[in-house]
């Protein structure tokens, strides 16, 4: 969970920074999308580095899900008889208890998001349009439910990382009683920055700053 999660967090940071290029206009964003495909050229052919990253991400997602499913299955085997009384968290860990269903929401979102922005299958502009046009059309106010899904998914990502980030340090044995405060504060900050960064773009489209 920890290692694959860390890979995915690094991806999210890069993805968020790239998204913010949309605030600098169509040329800046389209040029960035083009650069992702041509980076390293001519030393390596176009799209080679991007493909390597894509494969690594797919593997990371698959292994992350495999770990989550194994943990959930072990958990249900370890407690075959459930408690009759309703149990409330004694550790004030709201985010912690969203990990499993939150993860499912996030993966469903990723599927939609790829169909929308990458393959253009469910995007009004389609696959052949420029990335910037797909972005603006995707978050068009008439498709408010897409934006809403996006917002819900980003909040789930935020909660997922709120627990996941410090939890990764704990799993790898790098946390200690002294560092918990700092780790949890850093996890909250990084989660917040990512959520705000990711939400800035659809909000920008909605209020017409990106058009």
């Amino acid at each position: 969970m920890a290692v694959t999660g860390a890979i995915l967090v690094l991806f999210l940071v890069g993805h968020m920074v790239g998204n913010l290029k949309s605030f600098f206009g169509a040329d800046s964003f389209n040029h960035y999308a083009e650069w992702l495909r041509t980076v390293g050229s001519p030393a390596v052919p176009n799209r080679v580095l991007l493909t390597v990253v894509e494969i690594a991400l797919v593997l990371a997602v698959a292994l992350h899900m495999w770990s989550a499913v194994s943990l959930a299955r072990r958990a249900s085997k370890a407690r075959p008889v459930k408690y009759a009384a309703k149990r409330k968290s004694q550790a004030n860990g709201y985010a912690t208890h969203t990990m499993r269903y939150g993860g499912v929401i996030i993966v469903l979102f990723v599927v939609w998001h790829l169909l929308d922005m990458t393959f253009g299958a469910v995007n009004p502009e389609g696959f052949d349009a420029e990335p910037y046009d797909r972005l603006v059309a995707g978050f068009d106010p008439s498709r408010w439910w897409v934006t809403l899904f996006y917002v819900v998914a980003m909040i789930m990502v935020g909660l997922h990382l709120r627990h996941g980030l410090w939890s990764a340090f704990q799993t790898l044995g790098l946390a200690s009683g002294r560092s918990y405060g700092k780790l949890k504060a850093a996890a909250a900050l990084v989660s917040l920055v990512l959520v705000v960064g990711f939400l800035a773009v659809p909000v920008g489209v909605m209020i017409g700053v990106i058009k």
């Binding site: 969970m1 194994s70 943990l71 072990r74 958990a75 085997k77 370890a78 407690r79 075959p80 008889v81 459930k82 408690y83 009759a84 009384a85 309703k86 149990r87 409330k88 968290s89 004694q90 550790a91 860990g93 912690t96 208890h97 990990m99 627990h163 410090w166 939890s167 340090f169 704990q170 799993t171 790898l172 044995g173 790098l174 946390a175 200690s176 009683g177 918990y180």
Partner: protein
Amino acid sequence: MGMNLTLKVWRQNGSSDEGRMVTYKVEDVSPDMSFLEMLDVLNERLILEGDDPVAFDHDCREGICGMCGMVINGVAHGEQRATTTCQLHMRHFEDGAEITIEPWRAAPFPVVKDLVVDRSAFDRIIQAGGFISVPAGSAPDAHSVPVKKDDADAAFDAATCIGCGACVAACPNGSASLFTAAKITHLGLLPQGQPERDSRAKAMVEQMDMEGFGGCTNTGECTAVCPKGIPLDTIARMNADYLKASK
């Protein structure tokens, strides 16, 4: 004026019985009674009426032996922090309250009867490595092996684990990580524990998994209910030792 309570208690007559929640009224309970004394009152009445008393584990009744423990209203040892069931007093409950009482729920802790579970799985985890191999003999001089104050304090904090099993009962994953980590931390921080540190972490974690406990997802529910307040960073220490031993 005593309190009147409605108890919903798990009754299960042995491991082959399915088990069920049974409702009992308990009247005239003193707020100064401990939770176990309140159950004693119920049991005395049940015996007089010719019923089977509710079975529960208990021994010292002063919060140090680790025998007692039940899930009270969904919380292991009840909502009072850092308290064993025997040290939980009825003044923390409202008159007329309905209280649900269940045994620890975990596959590696099978119910023996009613609220009594078999915690031998913990003994087997200890047997796998929760010890140090030293020549037995007379006790060494107190300062013959220097121990840093910080290490001594942290080791002692971990050593306060009484093995009651509340961590397992509270964990959404049914993990025994806090118990196992407390033992690994207690011995791994002291000079006497160093020679077997790697093999201990590996053997104890593997035994814990073999017993059928769940995996840790760092929810922190264990340390929140632990009557001895064993800190969560013992688990980080266990993970570090285990990863090092697995290389």
